[in-house]
Symmetry: C2
Subunit: 108 residues, 2 copies
Amino acid sequence: MNEQTFSALADSNRLDIIDLLLTQPQSVGEIAEKLELNQPQTSKHLKVLNEAGLVEVQPEANRRIYKLKAESFQEIDRWLDSYRKMWEARMDRLDDYLDVLQGKKPLN
Amino acid sequence: MNEQTFSALADSNRLDIIDLLLTQPQSVGEIAEKLELNQPQTSKHLKVLNEAGLVEVQPEANRRIYKLKAESFQEIDRWLDSYRKMWEARMDRLDDYLDVLQGKKPLN
DNA sequence: TAGGAATATTCTTGTCAAGGAATATTTATA
DNA sequence: TATAAATATTCCTTGACAAGAATATTCCTA
């Protein structure tokens, strides 16, 4: 798993940007206005997100439309796969406990 | 979604620690030795992970056993849920494309 | 092609975090 | 109870990064 990805996500403004882009792709100006950020900051944050592979750009006249890029999110998802076993194991234990409550199984 | 969680993950040493803890809970000394980190750094990284809720401690004699904590990983998983729609939509389009390749469907 | 809109970049400053070194703290044991 | 083992904390230095301000760049349009 890539440290750069988490690094890009470790900023509340950038999390807000990503959250906003989930609704629809949009331009720098729109993002800046909706999140009440100034334009240069917005561009800089988008640059970080872009370099981390979380967004991509599509020029549209003299504006630049940013949109989410699925790959990096999928990478996080695959990374989480390793950890799902962990909490599923805990779920199994909960199932055991529920069985005990229902008298299906003796307590060890 | 919590910025602190991503912040804690945005460091390769800490990613390594988490990866190591996936195999089994273990002490500070074991972690430090396996990852070739010195002990103070290891303790400091574990502190960050602990404050982010990614690990928890269990004292065992004069050692402290650290283990992964499922909750924070599940929180990331729930956060990713919002973004799954995005790439699933793209997957649908891929399915369409595969249908086209197999002659099941005309190209629009 | 000049002007303006949209966006990106540079420069500076302040803050924060990582790493190293040293030391403090806690707990077990002789 | 003194000592050693395991771990945590503090202090210091350095590098990275966010924000603000100013400026540069790109691209459309009159």
